[in-house]
């Protein structure tokens, strides 16, 4: 009963911590790798027109929540125009409406957005499932041609997806007379539209999406039309030129169905061109921008809101649980003997500042010198508290001595000895000298080496840059560490050292 309570609690902690972390990764694209670079696209729509010297109104359809992309930022260059943004409503997409009392001469308005492609493959907009279209009234002889092609394709295909793929490829390539007829009925602009009409002949719901494939930088390019077919569950994309299933890489969907993304009044020669170029950005700043746009509250548990000094303190503090967990493993599972319970974590923290090799050297110098002096003090038969205080004074004196000496010699690492927790050093010396006297030097040295070993392991756990990054970016992972500690609190298996200790009993 007690057993399962621990694991239920541990599970809840771990699940909570991991879920929050996963949400951050998934929703906000917070990177797991601190050095991760993200590619952010600057996309620009340029609406050019010529004013006729009268009141003008220009409308541009804007993407709202383009699937697969996070909208980081957007802005408009409106010049003397008034700008209103109409939110999407009842089938009408989001729009920017520019108006001016008098527009004359050549003008250009800009819409500019920063988007971050979240996934390689575009997941199409889910939306409600469409109804099956009515079979259109084709004119003859187109009608017979379409019916013949549809019948032939139907015989060769298994389902809506293969049907569409075959049909589109067929219409694009085949030398069949019927197909030629169909091909001739459409121009380049109406090509996708024609495909949806043919598909309607087979009562397959389809639509056209207009968007920009963000692969390479481009300038002044029109939208690319892409075919989408609904198979009853979700939309599937098809290349209208080849029939290949899928979408172009990083396909930024601008609008559905309607090729006319601008409307205007009082101006002429309206032209829309799109440009895009990619800019690198650290993934973390992308995540912060996504959060400031979405405002999910997920980043509330993040160090960024604290003053920088406090942030740095917590960056260290958040690593201490990992050090403690290393001790849990070392003592409970491996059975390494140590002085005291948390002494190795504190020593490891000091190593963080002094760097490992210098830290170990300084630690050894102070402890062995302190131990020698402590042995000398034994001869004086001092009472406990005064003796501890004396050792403390001597430890601090030693630390100062080492610092001064290394300052003279120009060894910078020697100065960092001041960062060692002197009380811990004192207690280590005291414990070690008692163990030395009671159980002999072998045990004392064994425990000392054990402590040092655990401290070094703790140091590696606490300074691993990737772990430091994870803990400071995802403080909720503390719950995961807590869960692991809880689990090991319920561990009743052998320690590895016990396997050695009891090995004689396993012989029978």
């Amino acid at each position: 009963m007690r057993f399962s309570a621990v694991f239920v609690l541990a599970f809840i902690c771990a699940a909570t911590g991991l879920t929050v972390a996963w949400l951050k990764v998934d929703r906000l694209s917070v990177p797991l790798d601190p050095t991760a670079e993200a590619t952010v696209w600057d996309v620009e729509a340029r609406v050019a027109f010529e004013g006729r010297g009268q009141p003008a109104k220009v409308t541009l359809t804007l993407p709202d929540t383009p699937p697969g992309f996070a909208l980081l930022d957007e802005d408009f260059v409106s010049r003397s125009f008034g700008l209103a943004i109409r939110a999407a409503d009842a089938g009408r997409p989001r729009q920017a409406v520019w108006t001016v009392r008098r527009a004359s001469g050549a003008q250009a308005l800009y819409y500019h957005m920063k988007v971050y492609p979240k996934r390689e493959e575009v997941a199409p907009d889910p939306g409600p499932a469409p109804t099956f279209p009515e079979v259109p009234e084709y004119a003859e002889p187109l009608r017979s041609a379409i019916e013949a092609v549809l019948a032939r394709t139907r015989a060769q295909s298994a389902d809506i997806n293969t049907f569409t793929g075959l049909l589109v490829a067929d219409i694009n390539k085949s030398d069949d007379e019927n197909v030629k007829l169909i091909r001739k009925s459409a121009t380049e602009e109406t090509w996708a539209k024609m495909l949806t009409e043919v598909l309607a002949g087979a009562r397959i719901p389809s639509r056209i999406v207009y968007g920009l494939p963000l692969e390479q930088d481009f300038v002044d390019t029109p939208l690319t039309a892409w075919l989408e077919v609904h198979d009853g569950e979700r939309w599937h994309g098809f290349d209208p030129q080849t029939g290949r299933n899928g979408y172009p890489q990083n396909f930024l969907v601008w609008s559905y169905d309607d090729p006319r993304i601008t409307a205007s009044k009082g101006v002429r020669a309206v032209e829309v061109g799109f440009s895009a170029n990619k800019t690198p950005m650290t993934q973390l700043s992308v995540a912060n921008r996504v959060e400031s746009k979405l405002d999910t509250g997920l980043m509330a548990l993040s160090l960024n809101d604290l003053p920088v000094r406090t942030q740095n303190v917590y960056r260290v503090l958040l690593m201490v649980p990992l050090g403690a967990f290393v001790i849990v493993l070392m003592r409970g599972v491996i059975g390494v003997p140590t002085f005291g319970t948390f002494m190795p974590v504190l020593v490891a923290l000091a190593f963080r500042e002094t760097k490992l090799v210098a830290g170990i050297a300084l630690f050894l110098i102070v402890v062995s010198a302190g131990l020698a002096i402590r042995v000398a003090l034994t001869q004086l038969r001092l009472l406990l508290m005064p003796r501890l205080a004396s050792v403390l004074v001597i430890v601090i004196g030693l630390m100062l001595g080492v610092s001064l000496l290394s300052a003279k010699l120009g060894i910078e690492q020697g100065l960092s000895i001041a960062l060692f927790p002197m009380v811990i050093l004192t207690m280590t010396i005291e414990r070690m000298s008692i163990v030395w006297e009671e159980r002999g030097p072998a045990t004392a040295i064994k425990e000392f080496i054990g402590s040092l070993f655990v401290a070094v392991c703790g140091y590696f756990a606490m300074t691993e840059p990737r772990l430091v990054y994870l803990m400071s970016t995802f403080p909720e992972l503390l719950l995961v560490v807590l869960a692991m500690c809880l689990c090991f609190g319920a561990y009743t298996g052998y320690r590895l050292s016990e396997i050695l200790r009891f090995r004689d009993l396993a012989k029978r």
Binding site: R381, L383, I434, T443, Y491, T492, I499, F502, R503, L505
Partner: protein
């Protein structure tokens, strides 16, 4: 994997590990608030005397530095005595005196100490050197046990003591700890004493453990360690079983010495008894502990529990 193989063998043999001991037995059966009863030997002694359990006679206690002024005077009536810290563990801080020579008191190895040196030792005890966590402590002076001659051939100076593991009042496993040259006359396994398993049913010794290895002969004398008959075994078992009522601790180590005139005497109790007893008996504890847990009820009297133990743990 040799390691894993050993692991499985140990598990099948029912060897109890420290983690399992702590979590499944000590935490479950030893309520924390009862620890002070066993951590302070003076309290244990007082309780035992009230319950009529035999203990080595207490000669004097020292609680403050001030008391030390009367040290010489208070020790004057005794030429043999033992000074120990009330909160000591593992025999640390124990000073045995077995005679006087002029102004000196003499240790078993023949070294004489002045009263000043004894005073310094007591002062060290008071300041907490030997107590857990270094908190200040009391020093106690008590009767020096004269060991039953049965142990003479197998102990190097010092006082061998018998460790009885009492689980829920039932004596579960036993061993005798014999001082060696290496342990400097102390009956502490960590310091190099030999542990020899004792059959609960018969009181006969079986095998030994030394430095965590099983042995059959005493490392100093080379004599066989098995088939030594522990004198007064039934009385000793009962004494151990009664310590359950004394403390209410379900997983209890009872340390008993056998005096040649007074018979078994309770020396001290331990709320976290070690696991070396398994090596000395070449037997895992788990099977026995679980056998006791399977019992529907455990008899109320110590005597009945000893009967039960002899029945349950009969080795064929």
């Amino acid at each position: 994997m040799l390691f894993f193989d050993t692991w499985l063998k140990l598990r099948n043999a029912g060897i109890l590990g420290l983690n399992a001991r702590n979590r499944e037995y000590i935490m479950r059966h030893n309520p924390r608030h009862r620890y002070p009863l066993v951590d302070d030997k003076l309290t244990t002694k007082r309780l035992a005397i009230e319950a009529g359990i035999a203990v080595p006679q207490l000669y004097a206690t020292f609680e403050t530095e001030h008391d030390l002024q009367k040290l010489g005077e208070r020790l004057a009536p005794y030429s043999e005595f033992v000074i120990k810290p009330a909160h000591g563990s593992g025999g640390s801080g124990v000073l045995v005196i077995d005679g006087r020579r002029k102004d000196l008191v003499v240790k078993p190895d023949g070294r004489g100490l002045t009263l000043d040196e004894v005073e310094f030792h007591v002062s060290n005890i008071l300041s907490g050197i030997y107590s857990l966590g270094g908190v200040r402590d009391d020093a106690m002076v008590e009767y020096r046990v004269r060991v039953d001659p049965v142990f003479d051939p197998v102990s190097y100076q010092g006082v061998p003591d018998i460790r009885l593991l009492v689980y829920r009042g039932v004596p579960t496993m036993a061993m005798v700890r014999l001082p060696t040259r290496q342990s400097d006359g102390k009956a502490n396994l960590h310091q190099g004493a030999v542990g020899v398993g004792i059959e609960i049913a018969t009181g006969l010794t079986v095998h030994g453990v030394w430095q965590n290895r099983t042995i059959t002969e005493h490392p100093d004398f080379g004599v066989s360690l098995s088939n030594i008959e522990i004198p007064n075994w039934p009385r000793l078992l009962e004494l151990g079983a009664r310590c359950y009522e004394l403390t209410g601790l379900g997983y209890l180590g009872v340390d008993i010495v056998i005096d040649r005139t007074h018979g078994p005497l309770l020396l001290e109790l331990n709320a976290r008894p070690g696991l070396a007893i398994q090596i000395a008996n070449r037997r895992g504890l788990r099977g026995r502990l679980e056998a006791i847990d399977r019992l529907e009820d455990i008899p109320a009297t110590a005597l009945a529990r000893c009967e039960l133990a002899r029945e349950l743990f009969r080795v064929h």
